[in-house]
């Protein structure tokens, strides 16, 4: 009967058939299973991260809303996920402070707390796209980002306890993983709104996201949000660790490299329909995510003609700063080839650039901080692929 058509719904919410014995033919005729202490997802649900040795990617094509389930939050580790006993874990604050202190997890949860829903995006998210369309799916192109509700204590509160000396200008944050992952951070900026977090989406942090303690800096590249954090050392200058010299610096066409590029600039992507999905003619809700490391998303526009014309997408309220914003646009696909794109504008007026504009300025050697408009091509057969405009 449909006069309008179908979308890639089965791809949007993928599921395998549960084993026959798991699914009653008529569930109303058979008593169900009992309540349980800690639930797990339905056996047929198989959305999963794509793991490599160093990271895993969030399956945004299969997710809804803005919260990333903790089990599917992307990972990026520099030498694996450490196993940490929270009762033994300590945070050491030293260097240019009045009183070097150590804090147990119990100490830290006693302080006044704060909760914020924030994205964390790896600076390398979409990094392979610098060289041209590379990822097949949105999980491959944009899977190094996720959003959680984070709870912890403001970094400023804990540093004040130790007493910041007047000449302190940078802080070294160090993890207790096997990379002792380390970044130098400008003190004035992080004291503004960084959090020492012990909870993610209501419960204790997941091991992959820094259990039991993680630094979270709203809007900054993920690697600055030091996981398993055990040491904060205040100093006068950046410590110039390998992770801010050899890595996490962006090579420009002239051979110089940009350093301390912390903020993740505004970016958006259509998560459905997206690469690897297939649609049929008729009504298709274009769904995606937009975010900015400089604050709130002000507007998202969608094009279905490769950027010739743009229409304003609907933003799901509440629109929060430094947080994924879900956008939606109702589209009717008539069966012709189409290039669909989204672009966002943040509250500072910054407009997500086209790929052409971005690489004109930056070249293609940057590795990190790729935030160009993503183009998905819908073929005449409804199949969606990653293309360059």
């Amino acid at each position: 009967v449909s006069s309008i058509g179908t979308t890639a719904a089965s791809l949007i919410a993928p599921s395998l058939l549960p084993a026959e014995e798991l699914a009653a033919l008529d569930p109303t005729a058979v008593p169900g299973h009992a309540p349980s202490p800690y639930g797990s997802r339905a056996p047929g649900e198989t959305a999963h991260r794509l793991p490599t040795a160093t990271h895993s990617l969030t399956p945004h094509h299969a997710l809804h809303g803005i919260i990333t389930p903790s089990a599917l939050h992307f990972e990026r580790h520099h030498n694996g996920v450490p196993s940490i006993n929270p009762d033994r874990h300590r945070l050491l604050i030293h260097g240019l402070v009045d009183r070097p202190l150590t804090f147990s997890m119990n100490d830290l949860t006693r302080f006044p707390s704060i909760t914020r829903t924030l994205f964390i995006e790896c600076s390398g998210n979409s990094g392979k796209e610098w060289k041209g369309p590379t990822g097949t799916t949105v999980q491959e192109t944009h899977g190094l980002m996720s959003t959680s509700e984070w709870t912890g204590v403001p970094l400023s509160t804990v540093l004040a306890e130790a007493g910041i000396k007047p000449d302190a200008a940078w802080v070294l944050a160090e993890g207790s993983d096997a990379a002792a992952m380390t970044r130098s951070l400008p003190l004035a900026a992080v004291v503004k709104d960084a959090l020492l977090c012990y909870a993610q989406n209501g419960e204790a942090l997941r091991p992959e996201q820094g259990y039991p303690l993680r630094l979270v800096i709203p809007g900054w590249e993920g690697n600055t949000c030091i996981k398993w954090v055990r040491r904060l050392k205040l100093g006068t200058a950046p410590f110039m660790t390998r992770e801010e010299t050899s890595r996490y610096t962006d090579l420009m066409p002239d051979g110089t490299a940009r350093q301390f590029t912390f903020v993740m600039e505004a970016k958006s992507v259509i998560t459905s329909p997206s690469g690897g999905q297939q649609i049929t003619p008729g009504f298709v809700e274009i769904r995606g995510l937009a975010w900015s490391g400089r604050g709130k998303i002000a507007k998202v526009e969608v094009s279905a003609d490769g950027g010739l014309t743009w229409r304003t997408a609907q933003l799901q309220e509440p629109v929060l700063p430094y947080c994924h914003t879900r956008f939606r646009y109702g589209w009717r696909w008539h069966g012709d080839e189409a290039i669909i794109q989204s672009r966002c504008i943040d509250e500072t007026g910054y407009i997500q650039p086209s790929r052409a504009a971005l690489i004109t300025v930056r070249g293609t050697n940057s590795v990190y901080h790729y935030n160009a408009i993503q183009s998905w091509k819908v073929g005449g057969d409804g199949k969606v692929t990653n293309v360059e405009m």
Binding site: R90, E161, E174, F239, T256, V263
Partner: protein, 166 residues
């Protein structure tokens, strides 16, 4: 408790004073000025031996073969289509090499090397990259004075840098 100051009263009072031992156990970072470098020393020759035992399997016999990160070479490649970022071509500070090798290498046993081993590996890697002579002794005094070829290759973040118009 008696004797507590007013300033201390204003704080929450959570946490314990960090002892010298607490700090010493974890204070492993090395700054560009050499702060944090421990006593000890190393030579290029000693470094060659340690490298071949503990590093070559992952980084290749000469530091160029991999399979893991290439550590040597790439000079002059940064402005080309195929930049090769190594210690020699890219790293701005020699001190970072001590910091990173001790904190993170060998990948399977981080923080297992002695100071002399690390100084030696730093010496060998700097020499392989043509930065120091084969005879140089690397220690807390000499290392901060090594000038890396790409020392001035880094610039501050100028963003927003891309004009985006409709």
């Amino acid at each position: 408790p008696p004797g507590i100051s007013m300033a201390e009263e204003a704080r929450y009072g959570f946490g314990q004073p960090a002892t010298e031992a607490d700090i010493k156990a974890w204070n492993i970072d090395i700054t560009p000025t050499g702060e944090g470098l421990p006593p000890g020393r190393g030579t290029v020759r000693q470094g060659a031996a340690v490298y071949s035992n503990k590093c070559a399997a992952c980084h290749g016999p000469t530091g160029t073969e991999g399979p893991k990160d290439r550590l040597v070479g790439g000079h002059g490649s940064l402005a080309t289509e195929h930049p090769v970022k190594t210690i020699g071509s890219y790293w701005p500070y020699a001190t970072t090499l001590y910091d990173y090798i001790f904190r993170a290498m060998p990948f399977t046993a981080p923080q297992s090397l002695t100071a002399d081993e690390v100084y030696s590996l730093v010496a060998w890697l700097l020499h392989q990259n043509g930065i120091i002579p084969a005879t140089m002794v690397v220690d807390a005094q000499t290392l901060p004075n090594v000038t890396m070829p790409n020392r001035d290759g880094f610039v501050a973040d100028p963003r927003p840098d891309v004009e985006s118009r409709e």
